[in-house]
């Protein structure tokens, strides 16, 4: 089992792709795969441009806090998990990451409704 996990990680590196996990509430996280640097693009958007990729209006992203191997986002307004999932699905696609079934996530994005 341990060996298999190692092999998966290596294959991800060889292809230059990275897996990003998006965690919303208590539900199982969803994986997205993009080219290396996708997570860097995403966090640059959140921290420097203060917006999510694909969402140009200001105010959707209330807060973004970098965390070890990831980032925690707070979206404005009261949104349930399904609504947040819809937003993140668009944001991930617009940053060049596509839904993926497996692979070890290198980064974790945790998304919550505004504090």
């Amino acid at each position: 089992m341990k060996k298999k996990a190692k092999k998966e990680e290596a294959s991800v590196d060889e292809t230059g792709l990275e897996v990003i996990s998006v965690k919303i509430g208590s539900k199982a996280p969803t994986s997205y795969k993009g080219l290396g640097g996708t997570y860097a693009s995403f966090t640059d958007s959140c921290l420097r441009k203060q917006t999510l990729p694909g969402f140009h209006e200001k105010g959707l992203l209330a807060e973004a806090e970098p965390k070890e191997a990831g980032i925690v986002l707070f979206l404005s307004g009261k949104r349930n998990a399904t609504q947040i999932r819809e937003v993140m699905d668009i944001a991930m696609l617009n940053t060049g990451a596509y839904p993926d079934s497996g692979g070890k996530a290198k980064y974790i994005i945790e998304v919550k409704s505004e504090k």
Partner: protein, 483 residues
């Protein structure tokens, strides 16, 4: 998934949210606005071509990176056969949509980068080619629509990029970070960038030492924060917005050629997407390799596909007017075919005389002279073709009423009588509207400037032609002695 269907492409586009402005409005969904929708539908039709078993040889290639079947728009040419199929793809796509294959510039940028990144790695020990191939494998695996951004705003042409009052006239470096770079500036006349998943950005031309900040090539996601697309807007855009039925228009579904100005406002590009960073020496050859490929395809095949449509409609106009047997009409139609097929012959020759460049790279480039001749020939030839289309189509091409006026209860019955000829009025006006789209539309200047204005081809042809050798041959046959 290595090959997307047209519907799968449209599904992704529904979720893509580029920052797009057109004619005073911000567009939230590209499929909701009639003009941006025409661009997206043309791209969808290009995806659809690869689904058709009859087109597989032209539209589908085998990835040299993975061995998987891929859309040819994402393929690096590896042989003369590939070059030939590439120009055939340009012909087929134009014949199918009557406007740009909006993946075409990206395809030729991929080939320029495939060749030049390999050369840089060989000469400089960099890892650009490895990085580029990873991006390309990712683009192929997801069958991304990739556009190409080459033309900078340029500013005052007497000044070099670094001398411009506003440095944004050329895409330039703002910040170098551990994880990537930040860039800003403008790219203009970008065909179909709005409906692409990614855009490959190349330098606009050759650069000199000291201009390293402008020596950049990279791939960027369509919706990267900081990119704004300001779309072209003209009489055709207004007509499409105003009409209540697209069937009224010259090219109902796919429209005119849609471009935009791309504004890069401090856009972050991770290193994994940067394929040239400061190597001024290689900018000229990168652009030149892009240009020779694009001139073969754009000049010698894409516009030939357009010409096929124009010729077809012109023959219909002659038949509907009852003049198809008139000798000068037949002569003019044959001239249209000659002008068009001469350019296509140059494209085929450019492919057949193609070669590996640089040696050992595995990337095949078309012959420079024939590619440039194809483009220069069609730059003039296309105007000649639309001139003849307007001639044979008659003044009606620009004086016709709206198509739906034929159904107006008050004026319709009169118009039906006025425009009835050897064919019913609706058929005659439909063809006239199609010819208006071409002869009074955007494609004349578009053909002139697309893939570089003719002066660029004259310059290249002059540099490639051995005039001394030709002089010697002439002297020899005349019996003149060498001085």
């Amino acid at each position: 998934m290595a090959l997307k269907t047209a519907n799968e492409y449209l599904e992704t586009i529904k979720k893509m949210k580029p920052h797009v402005y057109i004619g005073g409005k911000w567009v939230k969904n590209l499929l909701d606005h009639p003009v941006t929708r025409s661009m997206v539908m043309a791209n969808a039709a290009i995806y659809g071509l690869a689904e058709d078993e009859n087109n597989k040889g032209v539209m589908v290639a085998t990835s040299h990176l993975t061995g998987e079947p891929i859309n040819r728009n994402l393929h690096v040419c590896r042989s003369i056969q590939d070059l030939d199929m590439r120009q055939e793809m340009a012909l087929l796509t134009s014949q199918t949509v009557g406007t740009c294959n909006y993946r075409c510039v990206g395809c030729d940028a991929i080939n320029g980068l495939g060749s030049t990144t390999w050369e840089m790695d060989r000469d400089l020990g960099t890892k650009y080619n490895e990085r580029f191939n990873k991006w390309l494998a990712y683009a192929q695996a997801n069958d991304l629509a990739v556009s190409g951004a080459i033309t900078d705003a340029k500013g005052d042409r007497k000044k070099r990029p670094s001398q411009q009052e506003d440095l944004d006239a050329h895409i330039h470096l703002v910040e170098k970070r551990d994880d990537g770079i930040v860039v800003r500036g403008y790219k203009v006349s970008q065909s179909g960038a709005i409906g692409s998943h990614e855009t490959l950005v190349l330098p606009g031309g050759a650069l000199r030492e000291g201009e390293e900040a402008f020596a950049l090539a990279f791939a960027v996601q369509n919706s990267a924060p900081g990119i704004t697309y300001i779309c072209q807007y003209n009489a055709y855009s207004a007509e499409r917005e105003a009409c209540d039925n697209e069937a009224e228009l010259g090219n109902p579904i796919y429209g005119q050629r849609e471009t935009s100005t791309m504004v890069f406002d401090d856009v972050f590009i991770p290193w994994e997407r940067v394929f040239l960073f400061g190597e001024t020496k290689y900018c000229g050859r990168l652009v030149s390799r892009f240009a020779k490929t694009h001139r073969m395809n754009c000049g010698g095949a894409c516009k030939v596909g357009f010409a096929d449509l124009i010729i077809g409609a012109t023959v219909l106009a002659a038949e509907y007017n009852g003049v198809e047997k008139v000798s000068h009409i037949q002569e003019k139609i044959i001239d249209m075919v000659r002008l068009s097929e001469t350019s296509h012959a140059c494209a085929i020759a450019a492919a057949m005389r193609g070669r590996e460049e640089p040696k050992g790279s595995g990337v095949w480039m078309p012959d420079d002279l024939f590619g440039n001749a194809a483009k220069l020939n069609i730059a003039d030839g296309f105007w000649e073709i639309i001139k003849r289309a307007g001639d044979i189509g008659g003044g009606l091409v620009v004086t016709m009423p709206r198509l739906k006026d034929l159904e107006d209860p008050e004026v319709g019955p009169t118009l039906q009588k006025v425009f009835k000829s050897a064919a019913p009025a609706d058929k005659r006006l439909k063809v006239a509207k199609f010819l208006q789209h071409w002869s009074a539309g955007l494609h004349g200047p578009g053909t002139w400037h697309g893939a570089g204005a003719p002066q660029a081809q004259r310059f290249t042809i002059s540099a490639l032609t051995d005039f001394e050798k030709k002089k010697k041959m002439a002297k020899k046959i005349m019996g003149m002695k060498e001085e």
